[in-house]
């Protein structure tokens, strides 16, 4: 049941030989994920962009995925590492289902499993370069948590990764409240995603919203947000600095 990491040069962990085996920097990355609790469960939002440095290279990357019956995960950061994490999680859920005994791993358990995994990799100086959002509902209990690539983890009523922390969470701190309806929740998330679209260079205008309730998981079809660029500052951006572009 143990997918061991590939062999490292144990006696030269920080040396150049082992460098080719360690994560040094990410290549294809996803940007923010935003998540909120609402009346019936959890809502997650993420766009579908996969950036290759400053190039917006891939525009149909699914960064929200279901995990078993009770959880959904959203990832930002290195996409290949997210795919690896999904392999680990799918195996975890598989073995959980194989017990076939009426017990199942809930979102809390999955969140902690991820935390252990991320922290363990961080300790080996070979992190999975992701910030993850894990949300779910089990037995009526809503759960929303996040884990970073160094293993920092916490739960809250609303979480975000990357730029979402700086742009979306202030909005959520003001406007989130208990027992949002589904429509209110989606509107709130769209508000956050719109701000991110305006202000985050690596955001693309194609997003998905994932919902999880006691009944199950739904991930929406991709759609775009309406934006408005007819603010006067955008009309003549070089007005205050002639000659610039």
């Amino acid at each position: 049941m143990n997918l061991a990491d590939s062999t490292q040069a144990m006696n030269n962990l920080l040396g150049s030989e082992a460098d080719s085996q360690r994560t040094l920097y990410p290549y294809v990355t996803g940007t923010s994920v935003v998540g909120i609790k609402y009346k019936d469960g959890i809502l997650l939002a993420a766009d579908m962009g996969g950036s290759y440095g400053s190039t917006l290279r891939y525009k149909t990357v699914e960064r929200l995925k279901p995990v078993g019956k009770h959880s959904i995960i959203g990832a930002s950061g290195e996409i290949s590492d997210f795919q690896e994490i999904m392999r680990y999680l799918d195996e975890l859920i598989l073995y959980d289902n194989m017990w076939d005994d009426g017990n199942s791993l809930g979102p809390k358990e999955v969140h902690n499993y991820l935390t252990r995994m991320m922290y363990n990799r961080r300790n080996k100086f070979n992190p999975l370069w992701n910030s993850l959002v894990l949300g779910g509902v089990k037995n009526g209990q809503k759960y929303l948590g996040t884990v970073s690539m160094i293993g920092v983890h916490y739960e809250d009523n609303h979480v975000a990764t990357g730029f979402g922390n700086h742009l979306a969470r202030p909005i959520l701190r003001d406007e989130w409240h208990e027992n949002l309806t589904f429509e209110e929740g989606v509107k709130l998330l769209e508000k956050c995603m719109r701000v991110l679209l305006y202000r985050d260079r690596s955001a693309v205008n194609k997003l998905q919203i994932a919902k999880i309730t006691e009944a199950g998981v739904t991930i929406s079809q991709p759609y775009a947000l309406k934006t408005s660029w007819d603010l006067s500052a955008f009309k003549n951006p070089t007005a205050g600095a002639e000659g610039s572009w």
């Binding site: 017990w99 005994d101 009426g102 017990n103 199942s104 809930g106 809390k108 358990e109 902690n112 252990r116």
Partner: protein, 280 residues
Amino acid sequence: MFRNQYDTDVTTWSPAGRLFQVEYAMEAVKQGSAAIGLRSKTHVVLASVNKASSELSSYQKKIFKVDDHIGVAIAGLTADGRVLSRYMRNECINYSYTYESPLPVGRLVVQLADKAQVCTQRSWKRPYGVGLLVGGLDESGAHLYYNCPSGNYFEYQAFAIGSRSQAAKTYLERKFEGFMDSSRENLIKDALFALRETLQGEKLTSAICTIAVLGVGEAFHILDQETVQGLINEFEVVGEEPPAPADEPAAPDQAGDAEPSPAPADQGPPADQGIAPMDI
């Protein structure tokens, strides 16, 4: 069971398809002093007889806490039981560490059974000589399992193992139908009655028995001697006979709360004064 030419190794089958070493190991369980378990939908009670080898020595510990939500009572080679309890505690701790959640007792029991099975299929090992009554909580409520040296496990409403356990089993067979909906107090009382059956006339006192309880909202703990003696006194005052199967408890009006009930009825710290609400 008599000595025969097929019983030297655990890896030797008899012509009748039996593994005698495994069966001999189960005999060892029958030699140990009695252990009893019963469960309701929400609670499990484990009880054991404290047998000391002499007046000068203390008795063997037969009931172990494995986690807040799992406890085990053993009968047979107590050393084997101790080692297996340590294994169980380890598994629970590891699961808690990874998942921040209690290990479902049903899964622990399967792991334990698989561990026992290994010893029935290696020529350089011997089967564990201990039977374990594992009580614990799961997503679906309280459960009681019995793990054999053979590597088999069974779920029970109530069970007794060890010497003179048949007497307890006979009592439990009479009463078990009511256990699922039984209250915690009645479950403990039934455990004491069942335990008394195994003593064959010897007086039941808290000095010669150990009772442990766990349940939904109640962590596994062993009841202290005073509490147990209090419970024993209750039903001995009313009359020697356990209540009829219609289960009209003879002493509901007695001080039914004689036990200080370690169940955490009070939740959380008292309200703080002088703390400002968090603005950030």
